[in-house]
Every structure is written in structure tokens, then in C-alpha cells.
């Protein structure tokens, strides 16, 4: 018998006027794993998180967190969960330490326990040096860390992070990834939303891709990549050419997609000896000049492209290599 998932949602719906913000989302997150909810801006990620965390009631559907019916008993659910929203929820006029102590007290810790927990979290999140400064003076990365620390005060078993790294510089982002990995290593169950394909790939055990309020695919990063099939070919032509797709069709294993400017073609191919030569020869015979040919293993970007016919909207904050800092 498998254990009941720590987060379980079925058939969630939420509309705002004419907008179907969430239109039938179901998901399940087993204990101690990370589910990445991946989708572009406006996909319904935040609305989903809000329904999972008692902040808004679903129009239809059910949510269970740690076995508790969230809609029926939000108070009980709040004792088990931590939430870090997309926008920081800090008290700007309190110091970092005062923020954490206040959350601790409101989470029913004793004064002494709240103070000890605050010190411990400040230490774990490298904020001890700024503990007695007002939160309004914190940098973006520090605010995110303090906000996340605030969600961890009562040691929740289930944690929800809504776009935890959006807007962070690459260094702060890597630091946040480390923090998240450490949390899950301790047994926390985590649902995180992101617009960044590399983030989901890097952190999540399973990924639900959502778009327009619906889950359009679910699986591990590897399974999702397998859906795209084979190796990815990306061709850049010297001039846009209507004949290119026809010339290539016998050599590829998927539909060919063409970029807006008509110069970049993408498709899946079965790798094999002489593949690049065959492609260039076929195009050359059709009188089409080629600037660049690339093969790569499919990324989640390709998955998104294959699923929605559009590239993921938000680029990663840095397309260059991120360097680890000591």
C-alpha cells in the first residue's frame, strides 16, 4: 500500500469574472518530494497555490494537505504548511529578527522558543549580520531568504513556494536552490512554481506543466523530454525558404516548426552517422544555404515548445553559465 500523498488536489477550478484562472487542476505530491509547477505568466500558478494554502476557496474541487481537508478545516491545515508567496510578505518596519519572532509568537511558540527559532533561522539563512536592521533596507535576495525563513518558523511538513527565484540575481538564485535542496533532504514535502525550465529541471522530482489553468503534461524531467522524442535539430538558414521544410521532411521524426523570421527550423531527429551531412546535402540540392546546424538533447524548453507550440515566455535570468560562488 502506498502512502497517501502529502499534497493532493483534484479538479480545482477558480474563475475571476470571465477569466478561468484555474480550470481543472489535479496534482499529487508524495512525501519528501518536490513537485515543480511550471508555466508561463498568467498560467494559474499563483491561484493554484492560493487554493492549496487556504488563502482562497476553490469554486470546485478538493484539496488535502497532510491528510487534512483544506477547505473544510483551514486552521488545522495552516498548522502543517508553510507558504512563501510570489510577493514578499515582510514587515518593513521590523528588523529581520523581529519579523521572525513575531511569526513565531503568532504560530503559538513561547517567547523563548520564538527567539531561539529566529536566531537559528537567521543563522541558517546567512542573515545574522543583518538581523537587527529594518527589513526595508534588505536587498532582493535577503528579502526572499527572510520571507522563506518566515515560512519555516513552525517547521512545516509541507512547504509551498511561489516563484521563489523570480527576479533574483544568479548568485542569490543558486543560494536559494541550495536552501531548497537542504529542506527537502530533511524530509519536507515541497511544491514550487516557476517560469524557469532549468529550475524545474534542477530541483523537481516531478513536473506539472500548466498553461491556461490546465495541467497539460506531468512527469519527471526525463519523461517530459522523452515526449519530445530523440535529438533536437535546430537549423539556421541564410534566407527564409518555404521549400526547406519539404526538403527536410524525410529526415526528421516530428513536425517541423519554423520561427517567426522563417530562418530557424526545429524538429526531432533520430541520431545517426552522417545525419548532419545528409541534412545539409538535402538542403543544398534544394538550393537552400545553411548558416548553422545544431543537435542537442531536448531541454524543457523544447518540451514547452512541443506542448504549447510557443516558447516558454520568460527567459531564465541568465542564459550564460552560472558560476558558483564560495
Amino acid at each position: 500500500m502506498t502512502e497517501r500523498p502529502m499534497i493532493e488536489a483534484a479538479g480545482l477550478h477558480k474563475r475571476y469574472g470571465e477569466t478561468k484562472a484555474v480550470d481543472g487542476v489535479s496534482l499529487a505530491v508524495p512525501r519528501g518530494t518536490i513537485l515543480g509547477v511550471l508555466g508561463p505568466n498568467g498560467a494559474g500558478k499563483t491561484t493554484t497555490v492560493r487554493m492549496l494554502t487556504t488563502m482562497t476557496a476553490p469554486d470546485a474541487g478538493s484539496v488535502h494537505v497532510a491528510g487534512i481537508d483544506v477547505v473544510a478545516d483551514p486552521r488545522a491545515a495552516r498548522r502543517r504548511i508553510g507558504v512563501t508567496g510570489q510577493d514578499a510578505t515582510l514587515d518593513e518596519l521590523l528588523t529581520g529578527r523581529q519579523n521572525l519572532q513575531m511569526i513565531g509568537r503568532l504560530s503559538r511558540l513561547s517567547k523563548a522558543a520564538a527567539a531561539a527559532r529566529a536566531d537559528q533561522l537567521l543563522d541558517e539563512f546567512d542573515l545574522t549580520y543583518a538581523a537587527d536592521r529594518l527589513a526595508k533596507g534588505y536587498s532582493g535576495g535577503m528579502r526572499r531568504r527572510l520571507d522563506l525563513a518566515a515560512s519555516l518558523v513552525s517547521r512545516p511538513e509541507v512547504l509551498f513556494l511561489d516563484e521563489p527565484t523570480t527576479g533574483l540575481d544568479p548568485t542569490s538564485r543558486l543560494r536559494m536552490w541550495d536552501v531548497i535542496r537542504a529542506l527537502v533532504a530533511e524530509g519536507t514535502t515541497l511544491l514550487l512554481t516557476t517560469q524557469y525550465l532549468d529550475e524545474a529541471d534542477e530541483l523537481a522530482d516531478a513536473i506539472s506543466v500548466i498553461d491556461h489553468g490546465r495541467v497539460i503534461a506531468h512527469g519527471t524531467a526525463r519523461e517530459l523530454k522523452a515526449m519530445v522524442g530523440g535529438e533536437q535539430l535546430e537549423l539556421t538558414l541564410s534566407e527564409p525558404s518555404g521549400a526547406a521544410a519539404g526538403a527536410l521532411s524525410a529526415l526528421v521524426t516530428s513536425d517541423i516548426t519554423t520561427s517567426d523570421d522563417g530562418r530557424t527550423l526545429r524538429a526531432a531527429v533520430t541520431p545517426g552517422a552522417g545525419k548532419a551531412t545528409a541534412i545539409i546535402r538535402a538542403l543544398d540540392e534544394a538550393g537552400i544555404a545553411v548558416d548553422d546546424v545544431q543537435f542537442h538533447h531536448p531541454s524543457l524548453d523544447d518540451v514547452f515548445f512541443a506542448l504549447t507550440g510557443a516558447p516558454a515566455e520568460a527567459p531564465t535570468p541568465s542564459d550564460t553559465e552560472l558560476t558558483e560562488v564560495a
Binding site: G85, I103, S151, E157, A206
Partner: protein, 294 residues
């Protein structure tokens, strides 16, 4: 679109650990938790007052300024029916006027908590929701007590004397603070309706300033033209000002008028405060519930 199956769960045979803190089931336990929440939030709001220059000056510098300005500018031109100096007449009105306009702070505080996302944080905690309103109105009551005391001290410094001594002063302040507390709940509703501090400040100003000025805070009603006079006579703010004057033992020309509120200022002030509370406490709680579930 194809949907793949979830990866198999990691084996986890550990039982669900107990949550950080169990809710109290007894009434006494829950009451104690509520009091603790209110205490934490009241303290937090008072820290804000200390750190926000605008809020601090509203409670400390503004009452001194208003008191000096009104006493020395109006006072030089004013004759009080029934005798007495303007200074003696003015202090009860100035306490009332300062507390009336200061009650706007609750609107600003509530809407800031909505606008900054603090309300989002609160609603994910297992705390009592009503403690948010209680903590806010109590910290504003304490700020109002400070503000009122500063008016009285300024008055004493420039020669105001209460004939009924300390007991009378405490009684008068109690009536004024009850009224200020009721207005706080009213402006809490405004703050929750408006949802951002700048607009809350604007709306509060438009409602509270006419309320404070169309009263007998600065001038006796008798000298006013008919329409403003009738408004001032029935305005609960006038009853509060009249209560202060009567209880302080200062000249209260309203006592010469035969309209009911002028004859029974304390009763009028207390009844209007209770009426405002009866309407605004449940309304604010409903608005907060709406603001924290959607």
C-alpha cells in the same frame, strides 16, 4: 496532449509527525491564545508608530501645534457666552478634535497591512483573525491616549486649569477615548474597503475633517448660521467636546442650549460610541474575512 504518470513515491513509512503546536480546545486556552496574539500585534503596531516619522508626529507634534494655534489665533478673537476664557473652553474641544482626526490612523494601518502583503502572511498562520483588528484598534487607542495627554499637557503649560481636578480629567478623557476607539473601528472598515494607505488617508480626511470642524470643538454652536448650527448641535463630536468641558470643569456654553444632546453630552457621547461600535465591529470583521479569503 498526453499525460504521463507521476513517479513512484519514495518509500516513507514514518508516521505523520505531530504539528508544531496543537490548538487549544478549552475555552480558557483559546482565550489565552487570543490575548497573546493581540499582545504581539499591539506591540508590533506600536513599534511602527515609533519608527514611522509621520505616525509619530501625528501623535506628538500635531497635538501641540493645533493646541497652540487654536488657542492663540482663535482665542484672541473669541468671546464665550456664559463667561470664561477661550483657553479654558478650547482644551476639551482640542482633545476631541485631535482624537477624531487621529482615528484615521486605523484606516491607514489596516490598509497598509493589506497593501504590503502582511495580511497574506497573517492568513497563513494559525493565529486568530479577530486579533488583527483587536491589536490594531488597541494600539491606536494607546496612541490616542498619548495624543490626548499631550494636548492636556500643552494646555497646562499655557495656563489651562481643570476645575474638577484629576478625577474629572480622567473621566473626560475616558469619554473621549471611548469615542476615539469607536471611530477606529469605523476607519478600520474604510481601510479594508479601500485597501491602499494613500486612498485610505484621503477618504478618511474627507469624512473626519468635516465631522470634527462642524462641531462645537472650536466655537460654540450658538454663533453659527442655522444649518451648520443644527448639524453641530447633533454631531456626536460636539457631545464628546461638551462631555470633556463638563467633566473637566471648564466653561461649556452648550449647556445653555435646550437641544437634547447639549443637555446630556455624556449620555449622547457614550450612546453614539456604542452605536458606532455595534455597527462597525461586525462590519469590520466581515470585511476582514472577505479581504483574507479572496
Amino acid at each position: 496532449m498526453s499525460t504521463l504518470t507521476a513517479p513512484t513515491a519514495r518509500p516513507a513509512d514514518a508516521p505523520v509527525p505531530p504539528p508544531a503546536a496543537e490548538p487549544s480546545r478549552s475555552l480558557v486556552g483559546r482565550a489565552r491564545e487570543w490575548v497573546a496574539d493581540v499582545g504581539v500585534l499591539t506591540f508590533r503596531n506600536l513599534v511602527h508608530v515609533r519608527r514611522e516619522p509621520a505616525q509619530l508626529s501625528d501623535a506628538t507634534i500635531q497635538p501641540v501645534l493645533f493646541t497652540l494655534l487654536f488657542v492663540y489665533i482663535f482665542g484672541s478673537a473669541m468671546h464665550i457666552a456664559g463667561g470664561g476664557s477661550y483657553k479654558m473652553f478650547a482644551i476639551g474641544g482640542l482633545v476631541t478634535m485631535n482624537l477624531t482626526t487621529a482615528s484615521m490612523g486605523t484606516a491607514v494601518g489596516m490598509s497598509s497591512d493589506v497593501a504590503t502583503g502582511m495580511m497574506n502572511r497573517f492568513r497563513t498562520l494559525p493565529m486568530s483573525r479577530s486579533a488583527i483588528l483587536a491589536g490594531r484598534t488597541i494600539s491606536d487607542l494607546l496612541a490616542a491616549a498619548l495624543c490626548g495627554t499631550i494636548v492636556l499637557l500643552t494646555g497646562l503649560a499655557i495656563g489651562w486649569r481643570p476645575d474638577h481636578g484629576l478625577v474629572g480629567v480622567v473621566e473626560g478623557m475616558a469619554v473621549a477615548l471611548l469615542f476615539a476607539y469607536a471611530l477606529s473601528w469605523f476607519t478600520a472598515c474604510l481601510g479594508l474597503l479601500v485597501g491602499d494607505p494613500e486612498s485610505a488617508q484621503g477618504v478618511g480626511l474627507v469624512i473626519l475633517f468635516p465631522l470634527a470642524f462642524l462641531s462645537t470643538c472650536f466655537v460654540p454652536a450658538a454663533g453659527l448660521p442655522t444649518v451648520p448650527r443644527i448639524i453641530a448641535e447633533w454631531n456626536p463630536v460636539s457631545a464628546v467636546a461638551g462631555s470633556c468641558r463638563e467633566l473637566f470643569g471648564n466653561p461649556n456654553p452648550a449647556a445653555l442650549s435646550d437641544v437634547w444632546p447639549a443637555q446630556h453630552p455624556v449620555l449622547m457621547a457614550v450612546l453614539s460610541s456604542l452605536a458606532i461600535l455595534a455597527i462597525c465591529v461586525p462590519l469590520a470583521s466581515r470585511l476582514l474575512r472577505k479581504a483574507t479569503t479572496d
